[in-house]
């Protein structure tokens, strides 16, 4: 199985007020054609920065990205455009993702024009994509502007804009977190239908394991800029190998108000230890921390086949 998108050792350092912020600390991942990969973690864990680097919206400080076998890490301007046509983004906030002055027609024509699709095909492609996101009949939506649409309708347009260049990969960064709960499932189902019909690969970024479980076959768990666990979503949730994954699983809300839940197996808050210091970044909050966790940094290691974890637990030296 060759990967559609493959990233090796991605690192991103921002300079903020003279201080270095290590947003992403050596993330490697691969997505196969047609596969759905989830990236979960709390805010600030670097999942969005990782996604932005994968889409070449952010320059990696270190590391490489290959798409369809070609190295795209250093491409710029016109050279990057063929990649842009094949890797699209679904935004978090549909109210801000569309140019407020553009009609829906104009927003959907932009990508076609930029990616060199003949003008004679535009109308047909736009109609087809609007039908795919269930904005029908297409002609009644074409001349509307974003302020006339609801959040769910806007997110359908955002999805349509991502699909209209016929990409092979969709990155969805918290695609439903800004939407009313009542329309979330609709958007997720549309995304899944589009993926199934077009054989699209997808990367879902979310803080919400429930969403990830619903849509992704494989999941990466990130903590403070690093991948701490990786594996098939079902196995990872059923049997978390990393204590942090266990926390995320325990934090998933359950639709029962009367049940007693155990306290989360976590303490303290995000560590501000410099990431260059040795040791596990989660040790201050981990209920299983042992002396070894301060002394050496756990590397991502394979456990049972396709699962990997960066934790000393169960790793007997």
């Amino acid at each position: 199985m060759s990967a559609l998108l493959e990233a090796v050792g991605l690192r991103k350092t921002f300079r903020a007020r003279g201080r270095l912020v290590h947003a992403v600390e050596g993330v490697s991942l691969a997505v196969a054609a047609g596969e759905a990969l989830g990236i979960v973690g709390e805010s600030g864990c670097g999942k969005t920065t990782t996604a932005r680097m994968l889409l070449r919206l952010e320059e990696p400080t270190e590391g490489g990205i290959r798409f369809d076998g070609a190295d795209i890490t250093k491409l710029h301007g016109n050279a990057l455009r063929p990649f842009r046509a094949r890797a699209q983004l679904v935004f978090q906030n549909p109210f801000d993702a569309l140019n407020p002055r553009f009609t829906i027609r104009r927003s959907l024509t932009e990508p076609l024009r930029n990616f060199g699709v003949a003008a004679s095909e535009h109308r047909e492609r736009i109609d087809a994509v609007l039908r795919r996101v269930r904005l029908t009949p297409p002609e009644s939506w074409l001349d509307r502007r974003p302020h006339e649409l609801s959040g769910g309708q806007l997110q359908r347009v955002v999805l349509a804009r991502a699909l209209v260049p016929e990409p092979r990969l969709i990155v969805a960064d918290e695609p439903v977190s800004m939407l009313d709960v009542s329309v979330r499932a609709g958007i997720l189902n549309l995304l899944r239908e589009a993926r199934d019909a077009l054989g699209l690969a997808a990367i879902y970024i979310s803080h919400d394991l429930a969403l990830i479980r619903y849509v992704c076959e494989r999941t990466l768990v990130m903590y403070l800029g690093q991948v701490v666990e990786e594996g098939p979503t079902a196995a990872l949730i059923a049997e978390p190998a990393h204590p942090y994954t266990a926390v995320l699983v325990a934090a998933v809300p359950v639709a029962r108000v009367d049940q007693n839940r155990a306290a989360l197996p976590v303490r303290g808050s995000l560590s501000d230890a410099p990431p260059t210091a040795p040791g596990c970044t989660f040790r201050d909050r981990c209920p299983h921390a042992m002396p070894r966790c301060t002394a050496d940094t756990p590397a991502l290691r394979s456990i049972s086949g396709d699962r990997r974890v960066a934790c000393h637990l169960g790793d007997l030296p």
């Binding site: 301007g77 935004f91 955002v158 804009r161």
Partner: protein
Amino acid sequence: MRGARNFLKFLRGEPFAAVGAAIYSVIVVVAVFADWLEPYAPRAILKVGPRVARYLPISAAHWLGTTSSGRDVLSQVIHGTRSALVVGLTAAIAVVAIGTLLGLLAGYLGGWVDRVVSWLADIVLGLPFLPFMLILAALTHPGTGVVIFTVAALLWPNTARVIRAQVLSLRERAWVEAARVTGCSTARIMFVHVLPQVLPLAALYGSVAIGWAILAEASASFLGFGDPETVSWGVMLQDAYANQALSRGAWNWFAPPGAAIMAMVLAGFLISRGSEKLLFPKLAEQ
């Protein structure tokens, strides 16, 4: 169509802007039909019998009297709308074009472009307006060209700064990033996606620049650096001053061009005042 309807709706809600727009409209109509409206040729020396018709008071034949050299004041005021519009509009367009372009580049590209533009703006804002224009007029040849150049060269920083600030906030919007993802070049993002959003603000600064340009033209002419062959409100004031219209109490000569200048400058400020709510909704809440 949609733009025109919105504009009318805006004027109904904003009396300040409506008055300003009305003044501009009157001046434009008068300038266009000046040849029909002016009762005499503006530079013709009129005679009463064999004598030059100097210092005639207000009468039915000369609604605003005549000048010391026997020219009809009303005809000159009417004809002066043309040079006022030419100077005002040309200078305003130049200010808006330079200010918007530099503000857009500085705000969107950032980095050294931003530093160079901000540095230029700081220098230019430090130049004194009138001395700059007078020295330029003395070195080259006096006339409207110098006025327009001075206004354009010295007033763009105000527009550029406001546009830059606006672009800085716009570039963080997700739809700008969406334009990148959907294959737009940097130039296309700047000029097709971002520029239309800042144009209303730029136009507002343009309307203020019209007033500045007319004031500048009047000042230059009044100080003798205008083109005496053109008929403009500033040249009229200079003519009146040089011929002791003040001490003769010939207010019918110097008051009308002064009032015309005031009205046009005021129109620009009224429009900008009226647009405040539209452009800065937060101000309206206070």
